[in-house]
């Protein structure tokens, strides 16, 4: 496993590799015809502060030392022909590097090759006792297990030997595509890509019910290949497209096996190891057809049909790895033979029968067909410890969504219009609580542009979703063992819903120098027939943005956004003997987020200097308040844990100042200072350590990674040279 050691060999050599780009110039291109065919920006960076938090380099790779920010080469009319060659790179030889090269002939063909790296750091504070000894197998030394089995309280001593690790993934994608255009009307394209995703991800596992919660670094070793081919014909009368695509996903680790550090010997009800199925290999293929025809100068018909076939047939794992569990039934099949087909059909007709009137009508059918066999499991093993003594039936969930809608826009005059729209959606599902639901949506939009410098758009939308009947589906438990159902409990994604949305966007160009915009949006969902579960949701989003050009080369800007999200949910703490509303409780969830940014930009000062300064702050606060609805003094009252959660919050500051100085016509230098600060208050993460028994005594025989995303504050100073050639 990767430790925290960071090494960057060969950084000093990297710029040398770009020298050929510069040396290519005299051979291939006449300088007088075009003064610049490319550029390269190379710099030196130093960092100060604590950058150990994974949040700092979550998706990037900012490290001290030499770096290549970007380079490009644009060779037109190669060797006096119509061939061209372009090349671009960003963050070269860093984890988030990008390379893109294109070779082609104007109007005839172009072929592109690309290489992309994408890091994703989850946490840098983790430590683990596990070592991956073979593919997908995580082990702990026998001596450690023996010691912990005899004395679980010795976990802190054992953790002294835990290995720190960066839990992170890296994606590396290479690919190429070619597009041939033998005529302006016809084009053919081919595309191939291969992506490898490697690393570790924090992963929760459990053994023996929740006795041994064991968080492990899940080894990730994915490979995905994609192929696409397509043809297109298009003229002013219309066009059609046809394409084929295939995506093949492979996981080198089909199963995860991990040791129980607190038990070295298998027994019924007490597993020494666990095993679970990681994401299985799968593949998807699709055929797409689309066409459009201008029926007249004012009317256009557009149709698309796509069909996706998704397949998965990886071998099933046995029910358990615990050899002491007796009477384990035979598997009903060796593999799933999973087969899904999704067919999407869209038909759109748009017309402008009058100069001021636009009409659009659309029909959509999305059929998600699941032909996966439904398998009956007479019993299964729970958390590798013991038989659950429950039968389970896997269900091929499927759905069909049809929608039809229309809208009409009346142009009042240039830039001003009123639009009314209506949409009807019919959603039928298989094996879910609501077999059929219907939703009607009406909307009206008013665009106003009374002055050339002022425009405003206001929208109102109302939607009503009604399930035909709500009947809890119990097929998953064919022989009983269903969880208790509370009358009035409905899943929010299927339940009756009234949605109201309103919004306005105003843009003011007060002068050539001053512009201002503001937006306000409100969304409200009410689940009027739900007595339990999600009861309501409300979102308010507003923003203001101003920019002012003080002089021709000096501009100022500022933005502010405020968002507020609220949702209410109700539940019941249930026991078979106390199924009463006296054990009901509610939770109120509130998030408020403010985003502020401001800056100034000075360009071409004395034709030599550009200066940029900007600051941004994103400040989020979250509250989860919980309230009992019953009377604690009544007999059978259970709800003793409905307490408000501590407030959560994040603050992300970014301050950047940069000065670019032009040394000559093709050489400029840049000095940049960046300050970033990230703070967070998160009661769920900041208490995490490998041993959590101080907080929850039920975790004395559990082990975590201790993954946190701590605050950071970093100063970054860089100097760079930008050479244009």
């Amino acid at each position: 496993m990767d430790t925290r050691t960071i090494k960057k060999p060969g950084r000093l050599l990297q710029p040398v590799l770009l020298l050929p780009l510069i040396l290519l110039k005299p051979a291939l291109y006449a300088q007088d015809a075009n003064p610049s065919i490319g550029d390269v920006e190379i710099g030196l960076r130093t960092l100060a502060g604590d950058r150990s938090s994974s949040q700092f380099n979550e998706y990037r790779d900012i490290t001290p030392g030499l770096y290549i920010q970007r380079a490009s080469l644009d060779l037109e009319h190669l060797f006096q022909t119509n061939y061209f060659l372009t090349f671009q790179t960003r963050q070269s030889w860093q984890k988030d590097q990008r390379f893109l090269g294109t070779f082609g002939n104007y109007g005839k063909f172009s072929c592109t090759a690309r290489w992309e790296g994408t890091p994703h750091d989850f946490t840098n504070t983790a430590a683990t006792l596990y070592t991956m000894t073979s593919s997908g197998v995580l082990t702990i030394p026998g001596a450690t297990r023996t010691a912990l089995q005899s004395n679980p309280a010795s976990l802190p001593q054992a953790l002294a030997g835990a290995t720190p690790l960066n839990v992170a993934l890296t994606r590396k994608l290479g690919g190429g595509s070619c597009q041939f255009t033998p005529s302006a009307a016809w084009s053919f394209n081919l595309q191939y890509s291969h992506e490898a995703e490697n690393g570790y991800r924090p992963f929760g596992t459990t053994l023996n019910n929740t006795t041994n919660m064991l968080e492990v670094p899940e080894p990730v070793d994915y490979k995905t290949q994609e192929v696409q081919a397509g043809v297109e014909y298009g003229t002013r009368k219309g066009g059609f497209q046809a394409g084929y695509a295939a995506s093949l996903f492979g996981n080198e680790n089909q199963a995860l096996v991990w040791d129980n550090p607190f038990n070295a010997t298998d027994a019924a009800g007490s597993a020494s190891r666990g095993r679970l199925a990681l994401y299985p290999n799968n593949n998807a293929q699709s055929l797409n057809f689309a066409g459009a025809l201008n029926l007249s100068r004012t009317t256009r018909l557009m149709v698309s049909v796509s069909s996706d076939w998704m397949r998965q047939n990886a071998s099933f794992l046995p029910f358990t790895i615990n050899t002491a569990v007796a009477n384990v039934p035979a598997l009903p099949a060796n593999s799933l033979n999973g087969r899904k087909t999704a067919v999407a059909t869209n038909i759109t007709l748009t017309s402008h029968p009058l100069a001021r009137l636009s009409l659009t009508a659309h029909y959509r059918d999305y059929d998600y067909i699941n032909d996966t066999p439904s398998l009956f499991f007479s019993n299964y093993v729970m958390t590798d410890s013991a038989l659950a003594n429950l039968a389970r039936q896997s269900l091929p969930y499927a759905f069909n969504q049809q929608s039809i809608g229309t809208s009409a826009t009346w142009l009042l005059h240039k830039g001003e219009s009123v639009t009314v729209g209506y949409e009807f959606v019919d959603l039928s599902r298989q094996h879910r609580d609501v077999a059929d639901s219907r939703e009607h949506t009406g909307s009206v939009t008013l665009d106003l542009n009374p002055k050339k410098w002022f425009s405003m758009r206001t929208t109102y939308e109302h939607a009503q979703r009604d399930p035909q009947t709500y009947v809890a589906n119990l097929e998953l438990y064919p022989q009983g063992g269903n969880p208790a159902l509370i009358p009035g409990w409905e899943l929010y994604d299927e339940a009756e819903r009234t949605r109201t949305k309103g919004g306005t966007l105003m843009q003011v160009d007060a002068s050539d120098r001053l512009s201002f915009s503001a937006s306000y949006d409100l969304t409200q969902d009410r689940y009027n027939e739900s007595l339990y579960g999600l009861l309501g949701y409300r979102a308010l989003e507003s923003s203001a943005d101003v920019s002012y050009q003080l002089y021709n080369n000096v501009s100022l800007f500022g933005t502010y956004a405020y968002e507020r999200y609220k949702s209410d949910q109700r539940s019941r703490q249930y026991s078979a003997s106390n199924d009463t509303s006296n054990n009901d409780w509610e939770s109120y969830i509130r998030d408020a987020i403010q985003t502020l940014s401001a800056g100034a930009s000075v360009s071409r000062l004395r034709n030599k200097v550009s200066v940029d300064v900007f600051y941004s702050l994103s400040f989020a606060k979250g509250q989860i308040d919980n309230r009992i609805l019953g009377n604690p003094s009544l007999a059978g009252f259970l709800v003793t844990t409905a307490q408000d959660y501590p407030e959560t919050g994040t603050r992300y500051h970014q301050l950047t100042g940069a000065v670019r100085y032009r040394l000559s016509n093709n050489l400029s230098s840049k000095l940049q200072y960046q300050w970033e600060r990230y703070d967070r208050t998160d009661f769920q993460l900041q208490i995490m350590s490998p041993s959590m028994s101080l907080y929850d005594s039920g975790t004395k025989t559990s082990l975590f990674l201790g993954g946190d995303v701590p605050p950071y504050q970093v100063h970054i100073l860089s100097v760079s040279l930008d050479y244009r050639f």
Partner: protein
Amino acid sequence: MRRSPGPVVLALLAGVLLWVPAQCADVSQYVGSKACDECHHQGYRKFALTKMAKVFFDAPRNELEQQGCEACHGPAQEHVEAARAHDRARASGIAYQGPPSGQFILRFGKDSPLSARDQNDRCLQCHEKGQRLFWQGSAHESRGLACVTCHQVHQDPPAAVAAARFQQPLTGNTLFPKRTQMEVCFDCHPMRKAQLLRSSHMPVREGLMTCASCHNVHGSPNPKLLIAATVNDTCYKCHPERRGPFLWEHPPVMENCLNCHEAHGSSRAQLLRINPPRLCQECHTSTGHPGTPQLATSRYVFNRGCTNCHSQIHGSNSPSGSRFQR
């Protein structure tokens, strides 16, 4: 399930399309691009640097492309004549009495007398295919956006900034009036910019993704201008491991990733709308621990809440995985 009428309509449409003869342009009023260069040298020079100009000037594939500048601005015979008459009058010291030359040429942008639809019509002569096949009737078309609202052909590129607010993504398309494609979108979608600054976000501000990674802003037959048929199909482009099919599927996950995730950015980990366990308890409120509020320091709450144990929440292929623990 139901049989869709789409294939039949599509077949009929393709038949009609191939039968329709191509239209021919009237070339008598064209003067050629060199005439434009005489007066509009700056614009001509900038246009000449574009790929489009290289095709028009060096490798035209049809009569329209051969017209160069006039392919977009329309035949310029009357425009040139009026301009030359103006020049002659000025040279003779006589006040020009004729019509302004500008009224004989098609102009683009906010000050154009043409409607957005008429301006777009010029671009769509060549570009009404590829990603623009569904432009007509799309959200942006019906809201009166002109192509030149987001793209420029021969204006100055955006001023170079010393420091970038967002990392510039690697793209072959640079014909934007702003530094990055995202900043163009933020003009009308300001909240998206705010969301991308949250602690949990996709790598858009790092320049590794753009709005176009998920949306086809030029029109799509799919909801929310998505590049794939559904939200989930769009997510599977980068997360194919979650595609399944799985033995045990979690129906809300299978139907829509947005039931749990906020794709544009969240202050909760993993782009979640709400932290577990409350997220899960929006639906799961029944016997055992799902119905218990749980203390903040409980193993059912800290770290990743419910997924501390039910980690296979996107689907399990294990025979013992019906509770997404295997």
